[in-house]
Amino acid sequence: MSVAGALAGAVQVLGGVLLAPLIPGLIQRLKARLQGRPGPSPLQPYRELRRLWHKSGVAPFPRTVIYELAPPVVVASSLVALVMLPIGGRSPGWPVGHDALVLVGLLALGRFAITLAAWDTGGGFGLMGASRELTFGVPVEAVLLMVMVLVALPVGSTNLIALSDAAARPHVWGEPAHWAALLAFVLVMLAETGRQPIDNPDTHLELTMVHEGPLLEYAGRELAYLQWAAAARHWIMLVLATELFVPHPGPFAARLAVLVVSVPVWCGLLAVVETTQAKMRVLRVPLFLGAGGLVCLLGLASWFAGGGS
């Protein structure tokens, strides 16, 4: 294993596990500054996790193994997704492969496990959140798949390392399909990270919750796991955005530097979107994501019209 590969592996594991909570923290901080408030420290999510870690758990009754399995399944799928994701186009040889479609599936698996848990306990708000999560999940997964297909077309492979290498070269930017994919990906990123205009991460207003709804029944360490997983999802989406859509030519060190710069920039973008956009009406969200699908179709059309260069 090369030094670069080992380093990429370290960033995958340590970055994904330890740095992920910094991302929502940083977005909260930036948002507060944009609203003219000092806001909480970017380290606030770590404090939340520490607080939850030391609390005893409370579980609803009745419940079955489905409820108890959800946090481990969500954490496991997040961990596998983390190590599938190349860093600077590199990855040590983890025995999980790097297939983009598997990554989409892992994200869906996490969503599936948590919505199933909401069904298991049958709490009103949990079910309401779960039903919205699933309603949004259908277009989210479809659009994400289309994005992956668009990005994979020029490469002829769905291997994330190959995709990252292709995006590193400047010539993909002459390809309208790639721009379409970028546009659609930003919409999916907003949905996957549960941010405005699709979901409001700040609110626990019972009737408007999406992602927070199914989490209501959890407490203590289980809730800490789920909150970490939500942060890890931010990391996955932001790193993926960098690997697929930010030009990062040059050696591994330069690619790593691009990643270090671009993740905070993506955070800033999310903070600006969240500050300037009110939350959307809940039934408009599938249409909004559908627009992403439409953009992808246009990208596909342009690709085939261009003869599939």
């Binding site: 944009l34 700040d202 009110a278 939350k279 959307m280 809940v282 039934l283």
Partner: protein
């Protein structure tokens, strides 16, 4: 200055009392309604001895009319089929004093929390219909209220509201107190309308005692009422922005509300303007310098509001959430007895400030937007419009220094009088029945109380996640109803 008298020669506020036997109750109320007199509340009261007593307030062009009857058999005929605005009043009277309203079927419990679920909710059946129960404990730091939504998917079919989790029995507690002490009970009904409630109470007492406020007292109360409106409307616009997650608007208006409340404290020693109103006098005074400072601060608040408001008009993601949501037609607003900004946003030209001879509202005209569409957007715009109007009024009222105010005798004493004052949420009606210097009965019906059933009507057909926003566009007070 001449004593203002109404057409009947009574002092404004003194009620013409029409006592009828229980059998004639419905006829008398419906006659009043048929003559275009506006229903202002129905109250029940249990005197120290004798059967429970019912009182219905109507406002006529000639003044206040009070129809009273003794529910000797414990039952009267309902008026709710003709005056739906009396729905909550009748349900409450039944729960409190076991008065049956014949024809009000089913008479669902309103404040009796021992009733089973089926008794107080409307049965809603059909494929995929289910109930969503929210509260009384909520995710935010708000008052206790239980909302039972009957929904299909995200769509609301019907809403049953249950309040009175913190009912204090203020009206019962106030009975037997002196008229001067009774004001504390009216004030504690609610913090956000404290001035309105106390001015309504003080006006009712003064009318019953044959007293008339001097110019200073009128002006002091008008200043306080408008200060209350300003901070409430600023708060409501902030809450509407927060309801759709638009933080910049919410923050800007929350900051403006804070400035308005600090001004309250400077002018009247209390951020919520508590203890600023008394029966027959006012202790508030300010000199030329203090008035000028207050005007400057209000002008700054007004300027900042104009800037932020202009920005908000251009945020399409925000406007999109407000337009066409929970539309209340003018006909429904009229029929259900909606009051305040909510009624005016539906196009009703109804603002009690134009009928307030004991306050300084000369030349006041009702602000109604050209496009009074009755939706959340209209209710938001209405507040901005009234905010502008209130700031102009205050600017005018604060041009001169203010001295402590007092009253002078100018009429006969009466046993019963009604105070009506326009609060930030609609007209508040306060009925005072006196025995000498003591309160025999106190009744308070605030704008919130009138509008709660209207809110329940307006949400039908809307999306469940839009409810917090719709609720905030009415911004009703729980404490007023839990009085």
């Amino acid at each position: 200055m001449s004593t203002p008298r109404d057409a009947s020669g009574r002092m404004p506020g003194v009620a013409e009392i029409r006592a009828v036997p229980a059998a004639a109750w419905r006829r008398a109320c419906l006659d009043a309604h048929a003559h275009g007199e506006r229903f202002g509340g129905l109250f029940s009261h249990l005197p120290a001895s004798g059967p429970p007593r019912l009182r219905a307030v109507f406002s006529t062009p000639a003044g206040e009319r009070l129809i009273t009857c003794e529910a000797t058999e414990g039952a009267v005929e309902t008026i709710v089929d003709v005056i739906p605005a009396a729905g909550w009043d009748e349900r409450e009277a039944h729960d409190l004093h076991a008065i049956s309203f014949i024809g009000h079927e089913p008479l669902r419990p309103l404040i009796d929390h021992h009733a089973p679920l089926e008794a107080w909710t409307v049965p809603t059946v059909g494929e995929d219909v289910h109930q969503v129960a929210v509260g009384p404990i909520h995710a935010g730091v708000i008052e206790s209220g239980h909302f039972r939504f009957h929904v299909v998917g995200e769509r609301i079919l019907h809403l049953d509201v249950r309040l009175s989790y913190k009912r204090r029995g203020l009206e019962t507690a106030a009975a037997g107190r002196s008229l001067g002490d009774g004001i504390a009970y009216a004030q504690r009904a609610c913090a956000a309308c404290a001035v309105t409630n106390t001015v309504a109470y003080a006006q009712a007492c003064e009318a019953a005692l044959g007293l008339q406020p001097d110019d200073h007292l009128r002006r002091a109360r008008t200043v306080l009422l408008e200060l209350e409106r300003v901070y409430n409307h600023l708060n409501d616009i902030s809450a509407i922005c927060a309801g759709v997650g638009f933080a910049p608007g919410a923050m800007a208006y929350a900051a403006l509300k804070e400035r308005a409340q600090r001004l309250n404290e400077r002018l009247a020693w209390h951020r919520f303007l508590f203890d600023t109103v008394s029966v027959g006098r006012s202790a508030i005074s300010f000199d030329r310098q203090e008035a000028a400072d207050a005007r400057r601060e209000l002008a700054a608040i007004g300027q900042e509001h104009q800037l932020v408001w202009r920005d908000l008009r251009f945020v399409s993601s925000l406007q999109e959430r407000l337009e066409g949501v929970a539309t209340l037609s003018a006909a429904d607003a009229e029929r259900l007895g909606a009051v305040g900004p909510a009624a005016r946003a539906s196009g009703l030209r109804d603002d009690h400030r134009i009928h307030s001879p004991h306050l300084s509202y000369s030349g006041f005209s009702v602000a109604v937007a050209e496009a009074a569409s009755g939706d959340v957007a209209a209710r938001t715009n209405q507040r901005a419009l009234e905010l502008h109007q209130s700031l102009e009024l205050l600017d005018d009222l604060l041009t001169q220094p203010l001295e402590p105010g007092t009253v002078r005798r100018c009429g006969e004493e009466a046993s019963t009088a009604v105070g009506r004052v326009e609060s930030p949420r609609g007209v508040t009606v306060c009925v005072v029945v006196r025995e000498g210097d003591r309160l025999a009965a106190l009744h308070l019906r605030t704008g919130s109380y009138a509008n709660w059933p209207v809110l329940a009507h307006a949400v039908v057909g809307e999306l469940l996640p839009d409810f917090p926003l719709i609720n905030k566009s009415f911004e009703l007070c729980y404490a007023c109803a839990d009085r």
